[in-house]
């Protein structure tokens, strides 16, 4: 991210007077408090900051005089605040375009104010196009304005390389088909001239007549056959290429770090795998069938027209582009808009319908049926009105635009007849000529629409390639080793933030012995989940090291590492399939007795065996046919089946009622024996079996010790326990926090 913009000479001179020689950081501050956009900058250097605008320093200060610099994100803008003389003040105001920069700047100012080294770890890419300076859409790397269509097509060709044989075959068939199509009018001319209206002085020839008829039949029949062959070949080629792309994209997505994946919406990624690759398939198919075919026809028929009679050809061709453009214009600017509007209204009505029908219980419960009927009547009427309007216009405009396309034909016929009367042309030639003239309009009007769908396909290509090009952030080191984990975990001097300007964990030092159970405790947002994400190496630390059995986890193969860590999350996710398959997920090919053993340990065996289908019970979408506690126990069975040396429990029992939790607690007690366990729980009673508790506060370790030690210390943990006790007393359920935690 660019944190050092270049100032104009005037601004620079003004700033230098305040901050001295060197400007360390300089970022735009482009919004006044009155709400005007302007070209201001915040410059930092020499322990001072200055806000400069139009060559004048409007505000400045000593960085060390204030503290607690903070970016306050508001609605549609953000403000950099600081505490000065014990009161808060606004330093600068910015639009959202530069808000992310100020996250860094606030961090930098805080570090400078406290005379700490400035901690900025990885520079996130600046979301501005390097070529044109426009802002890029978050998550994309290519500017839609500057992306080159040629480059995208080149990539596509490279991907298609493995299919070049069938591609060439398809092209051959395509060329043959267009040659046949062009031969049709020639036979028509033969037919007319030889048999129907022979030129003066010639007899009608039956032989030529039959030949011409046969030729026409042949071109027709064989042309259709070639068309079938062409479509079949191209369908298989384009599907093959799309399948390759889909596979590549899916492979890529699987190898991405969790950081990238969570920054993308699942639906968006799904679109890239399915919709975008399908659009590319469609493009290849269209390009190799229609596009090339149309081009060949266009060029060939134009050549033939000119060689037949260049004056007539001009008459046909000159108005053609205008007519085609008009056709295009009517479609794009009138009809398309009308249908778009109609579609929008229908969309609105549909979503209303979906809403009301899926919420019918609520409608009935509040007795609002009359109102909904009224509303539906309104939408329905609106939709009907829009449909009538667009159909009316379409019924007029569509014939007109089609007629325009054929007006050239009319001209040809008119002039052709005139020429026949003047004996400059015969009937056969006119028929052949007008057949070629008819052929030429198709490709021209098609060409008008081409840029739009090519553009759409290019977006898809870029979206697909941008995933393929994405580099995984967490990668195996070259000399990474396989390691059989024994179970000691050591954090030393770990700093980490999802965005480097917001460290979530600060200076974490912790040693966990093999087989020990650690309970992580703290307010939400204190960094508990982040800590366990780091153990699984879903992210790499910014500073410091995490070692397992003394080996830096960056030196252990990721697959090896994660397969030996069992994870149970609060939100269990079960795949569709049987219970046995779900338990086997952590160890494909596990024997039935292993599955049952794992279920037994997880206290799941008893309820599974009581199901009519036992372990063969098919789970519906995410196991919706099981209760929360049952799903959770299956998840625990899945985690332990692989006999992991390290077990991570992230709020594994938080969403369960007390009784179910007790059953699962019992299961966990067995599971965690002899395994290094890191458990997070809001309900502190869940951690009663923990050997030690680690209290995190704002990303730092605040307290470590046994329950007893921490209670005696009367610190954060004590307060948490006290708060939960008073909560449970209020709600009347005394079991939430048992006194002997």
């Amino acid at each position: 991210m660019n944190l050092n913009f270049t100032l104009s000479d005037q601004d620079l001179a003004a700033v230098r007077q305040i901050v001295g020689g060197e400007i360390a950081y300089c970022v735009p501050a482009d919004l006044s408090l009155e709400g005007r956009r302007l070209e201001g900058y915040l410059a930092i250097g020499g322990g001072r900051w200055a806000y400069v605008q139009d060559g004048q320093v409007r505000d400045h200060g000593d960085i060390a005089e204030a503290s607690d610099y903070k970016l306050m994100p508001f609605v549609g803008n953000a403000v950099l605040e600081a505490t000065e003389n014990e009161t808060k003040r606004i330093i600068v105001r910015v639009t959202m375009q530069h808000a992310a920069r100020y996250g860094y700047i606030a961090q930098i100012l805080n570090d400078m104010a406290a005379s700490r080294p400035v901690r900025i770890y990885h520079d996130e890419a600046d979301p501005v196009c390097a070529a044109c300076g426009r802002s890029l859409v978050p998550g994309t790397r290519v500017c839609p304005r500057c992306m080159s269509k040629a480059a995208a097509f080149k990539r596509l060709l490279l991907v298609s390389r493995s299919h070049w044989r069938s591609l060439m075959l398809g092209l051959g068939v395509l060329i043959a088909a267009s040659a046949l199509a062009l031969a049709g009018p020639y036979f028509q001319k033969l037919l007319v001239n030889a048999a129907l209206v022979p030129p003066a002085g010639q007899e009608a020839s039956v032989r030529v007549f039959i030949l011409a008829l046969a030729g026409m039949l042949f071109t027709l029949a064989f042309g259709e056959l070639l068309g079938i062959a062409r479509n079949r070949i191209m369908a298989s080629v384009s599907s093959g290429i799309a399948a390759d792309l889909r596979k590549t994209v899916f492979d890529r997505i699987q190898s991405m770090s969790l950081g990238f994946l969570t920054s993308q919406r699942a639906g968006d990624l799904m679109n890239r795998v399915t919709a975008d690759t399908d659009r590319i398939r469609h493009l290849i198919q269209e390009m190799c069938t229609t596009a090339i075919y149309q081009l060949i026809i266009l060029i060939a028929s134009a050549t033939l027209l000119f060689s037949a009679d260049w004056r007539l050809a001009l008459i046909v061709l000159l108005p053609a582009p205008f007519v085609a453009y008009l056709h295009y214009y009517i479609w794009r600017h009138v009809l398309h808009k009308l249908f778009h509007k109609q579609w929008r209204i229908s969309d609105k009505a549909n979503s209303f319908l979906h809403d009301v029908l899926s919420g019918i219980r609520v409608v009935k419960a509040f007795g609002q049926e009359e109102r909904e009927i009224r509303r539906f009547r309104e939408y329905n009427g609106e939709f009907a009105a829009a449909a009538i309007k667009s159909e009316k216009l379409y019924s007029i405009l569509s014939p007109i635009s089609n007629y325009l396309i054929q007006i050239g034909q009319y001209l040809v016929l008119m002039i052709g007849c005139y020429m026949i009367i003047g004996r400059e042309m015969n009937v056969g030639e006119l028929i052949q000529f007008s057949a070629y003239a008819a052929m030429i309009f198709g490709p021209i009007s098609w060409l008008m629409f081409m840029p739009r769908w090519i553009a759409n396909a290019v977006i898809s290509m870029h979206r697909v390639f941008s995933v393929i090009d994405e580099q995984p952030e967490v990668i195996d080191a070259k000399d990474a080793v396989g390691h059989r984990i024994r179970g000691s975990i050591e954090f030393s001097g770990v700093f980490f933030g999802y965005r480097s300007y917001e460290p979530v964990l600060k200076e974490i030092n912790l040693t966990v012995k093999p087989g020990e159970m650690i309970g992580l405790v703290g307010h939400s947002g204190s960094g508990k989940s982040t800590t366990i994400n780091l153990i699984s190496r879903f992210y790499d630390v910014n500073e410091g090291e995490i070692r397992i059995d003394g080996i830096d986890i960056r030196m252990i193969r990721q697959e090896d590492l994660r397969s030996q860590i069992g994870v149970v999350l609060q939100e269990t996710f079960l795949f569709s399939g049987t219970i046995a398959e779900n338990i086997q997920y952590s160890k494909p090919g596990a024997k039935p007795e292993e599955v049952i053993e794992a279920a037994k340990i997880a206290n799941a065996h008893d309820f599974i065996i009581n199901l009519p289908d036992g372990y063969d019970t098919r789970l519906e979408e995410n196991g919706n046919n099981l209760s929360g506690g049952e799903r959770q126990r299956i998840a625990i069975a899945r985690a332990v089946l692989n006999d992991p040396r390290i077990l991570i429990l992230d709020e594994a029992t938080a969403s369960l009622d007390i009784e179910t939790e007790a059953a699962i607690q019992e299961a966990l007690k067995r599971v965690t024996k002899n395994r290094t366990t890191i458990a997070i729980a809001h309900r502190l009673s869940t951690l009663r079996n923990a050997d030690r508790l680690v209290v995190l506060d704002k990303g730092r370790i605040a307290e470590i010790g046994t329950h007893r030690e921490l209670m005696e210390k009367r610190g954060i943990y004590y307060k948490l326990i006290a708060a939960q006790r008073s909560m449970s007393r209020k709600s009347g359920s005394s079991a939430v926090v048992s006194p002997q935690v």
Binding site: L38, G76, E81, T87, K88, Q97, V137, R145, R344
Partner: protein, 175 residues
């Protein structure tokens, strides 16, 4: 009718909303150009002004909150306060909700799934990029069109029916 009134009272009691009035509170601007309020014998500085209805009614039901997002109290209507205080609060509210009004649509073009806007606004001339779909151009209220650009900046066309035909045609397809 009476029963409804009665129920309304119970709702208010249960909600326990504390309303700030000129009688029970005093608003001031801090030296750092922020807002502070003294109420119930306590001084809160800084406080932020949140709008309950930022699109349909900006002058009523304003929530005064601390940086820790604790509600100090609500203002029923800005007009309850003297002119000076009301404009002070309104200015702070405007800082929080920055949504320039589009006064003139100059050009809108579309390319590759994004539309590029050039508009005159109350904050000056603005050029911005909007991603197609996903609700970036939507009606925030009847006749009031809210546009969110790729960075998260917001723009509003306060009265869509007041646009000229030419302007309307430009934005029509983006809605």
């Amino acid at each position: 009718m009476r029963m409804e009134e009665h129920r309304g009272m119970e709702l208010a009691d249960a909600a326990g909303i504390r309303y700030l009035t000129p009688g029970n509170s005093e608003f001031m601007e801090t030296s750092g150009r922020m807002l502070s309020v003294r109420t119930g014998g306590e001084m809160h500085s800084p406080v932020y002004v949140h709008c309950s209805f930022p699109h349909t009614n900006q002058r009523s039901f304003l929530s005064i909150r601390t940086a820790g997002n604790k509600e100090i109290g609500m203002i029923r209507h800005l007009d309850d306060f003297p002119q000076g205080t009301a404009s002070l609060i309104e200015r702070q509210m405007k800082i929080r909700y920055f949504t320039p009004e589009i006064t003139k649509v100059i050009a809108v073009s579309e390319e590759f799934g994004y539309s590029y806007w050039e508009v005159a606004t109350t904050a000056g001339l603005c050029r911005f990029t909007v991603r197609n779909g996903s609700g970036n151009v939507k009606f925030a209220a009847e006749n009031r069109l809210l546009i969110t650009d790729v960075d998260g900046n917001r723009f509003v066309i306060p009265q869509v029916d007041q646009l000229s035909d030419k302007e309307y045609r430009m934005i029509e397809m983006r809605m």
